[in-house]
């Protein structure tokens, strides 16, 4: 992985995922290490993202590195009309690694082709957000003790949600994975992903409603159903409350089942669920720091 950019979850093999997860475990045991002393990481956030940026910056700080960059494009030369090409060419002179988020899809791949230093994609539009997927895998393995033989329920916006698409692609590399998709008709999992599962012979089931079927789940992966995704506002009003997870819905679920969510949450998980030991989303966000420490140190060849 040394000196290789991380642009798409599809760039890494299953063995590379596992290597990152093993390393992240080490960082969880001992998060503060001076591995990045004397190194500079640029965080270029062309669109704001509080959680992802702070998680990355926290990871760099725990490793003893320095950070330069900007947290939204209004405070960069983008407002003067500078191209991404020029920004990356210049910034890659000033640092050892670039972490970038950009609203346009494919921007991170383009940056990785022109940059002299490795790029970590922290989200390129609706396309990829690979460090999120790796922290999801880490959270699943940590809570279930395995990544094979998992029954995962994905709930909400399965059409546009990049996190569920990337997680599906990553999980499909493991054995005996069962997928259950719960979503409104308008936001169903796209055909192209179902074809991937068909070709691999992996089982998947589609549901319109939250029912007792969730008692079979090892993981419930919640996502936000966004109003702007609906062409018909009446349809949104009708469906928005059908995909809200409430505490009583977890009564018959397995004891070790965990609820994950990439966050931010709006109303799709009732706050009363937060106290339930099956709620794992805040710890999931914490795991993101260890996973990012592992990714940064591997790419810079420090471990």
């Amino acid at each position: 992985m040394k000196n290789r950019s991380l642009v798409s979850i599809n760039d890494y093999s299953k063995d590379e995922y596992l290597k990152i997860l093993d390393l992240a475990e080490e960082f969880e045991k001992k998060p503060v290490r001076e591995l990045l002393a004397g190194k500079i990481v640029a965080t270029l956030f062309f669109e704001p993202s509080t959680r992802t940026r702070i998680s990355f910056e926290s990871a760099v700080n725990r490793l003893g590195g320095r950070i330069v960059g900007f947290s939204d494009s209004n405070s960069s030369s983008v407002t003067k009309g500078e191209t991404l090409y020029d920004t990356i060419k210049i910034v890659s002179n000033y640092c050892d690694l670039i972490v970038m988020r950009h609203p346009l899809e494919g921007s991170a791949r383009f940056a990785s082709e022109i940059s002299q230093v490795p790029i970590i994609n922290a989200g390129d539009g609706a396309n990829q957000h690979p460090t999120q997927t790796l922290l999801d895998l880490y959270s699943i393995r940590k809570t279930q003790g395995r990544l094979d033989n998992i029954n995962i329920f994905m709930v909400g916006d399965l059409k546009y949600g990049r996190t569920v698409h990337s997680l599906l692609m990553a999980m499909s590399k493991f054995n005996k994975i069962t997928f259950n998709f719960i979503s409104p008709e308008e936001l169903k999992m796209p055909e192209e992903y179902k074809i991937v599962l068909d070709n691999l012979g992996l089982k998947y089931y589609e549901h319109k409603d939250f029912t007792d079927i969730v008692s079979e789940a090892d993981i419930i992966y919640m996502t936000r159903v966004q109003k702007e995704r609906f062409s018909d506002p009446i349809e949104y009003e009708k469906t928005k409350n059908a995909y809200i997870l409430k505490d009583h819905m977890l009564v018959n679920t397995k004891p070790g089942m965990k609820v994950l969510h990439p966050l931010p949450r709006v109303n799709e998980i009732d706050p009363c669920v937060d106290e339930n030991p099956k709620a794992y989303y805040f710890t999931q966000a914490l795991n993101g720091v260890y996973v990012r420490q592992a990714i940064i140190s591997s790419i810079l060849g420090l471990i």
Binding site: Y85, E105, G106, G125
Partner: protein, 152 residues
């Protein structure tokens, strides 16, 4: 024989590209950059064809293509056939095949793709050659035959 008229004159040495559908002629010209060549080129279009309805033909004197260059036209002229001419004789016949990768030529149909915003040469992996499906190396979205737009 007496009813047959050669609508486009014969060439001594070069390449004849036949069986181009008439509507694709100018796309083929553009893809091959024929508008920038100083050799003798003759075109015929809206010629009758049993297979294509209306076809076009291009005759290029003293021009020979490498396979990787000529295969680019397969995206717009999948039925095209090449005759390589030496001293008025057809010495070789070739068909075109969609290559495994497409560089340039096609515009990514995703309006949010970085290639539609900065000066970047597009790159696609060909997922399907018959009903053409191209996967953008940048945004990873699929551009299909129906939405394919030729650049230049």
């Amino acid at each position: 024989m007496k009813d047959k008229i050669l609508v486009v004159s014969a060439i001594k040495d070069g390449t004849v590209i036949d069986h181009i559908s008439a509507k694709s002629l100018f796309k083929v010209i553009s893809i091959l950059g024929l508008d920038k060549i100083d050799k003798t080129i003759t075109f015929g279009t809206n010629l009758e064809s049993k297979k294509l309805g209306r076809k076009a033909i291009i005759k290029l004197s003293d021009i020979f293509f490498k396979d990787k260059d000529i295969n680019k036209i397969a995206l717009v002229a999948p039925d095209a056939k090449l005759n390589i001419i030496k001293n008025y004789e057809v010495v070789e016949k070739k068909v075109v095949e969609v290559p495994d990768e497409i560089t340039g030529i096609v515009k990514c149909m995703n309006p949010k793709c970085i290639t539609n915003s900065e000066k970047i040469v597009t790159k696609f992996d060909v997922l399907s050659k018959k009903d053409v499906k191209l996967k953008c190396r940048y945004c990873e979205k699929i551009t299909d035959q129906e939405h394919m737009e030729i650049l230049r």
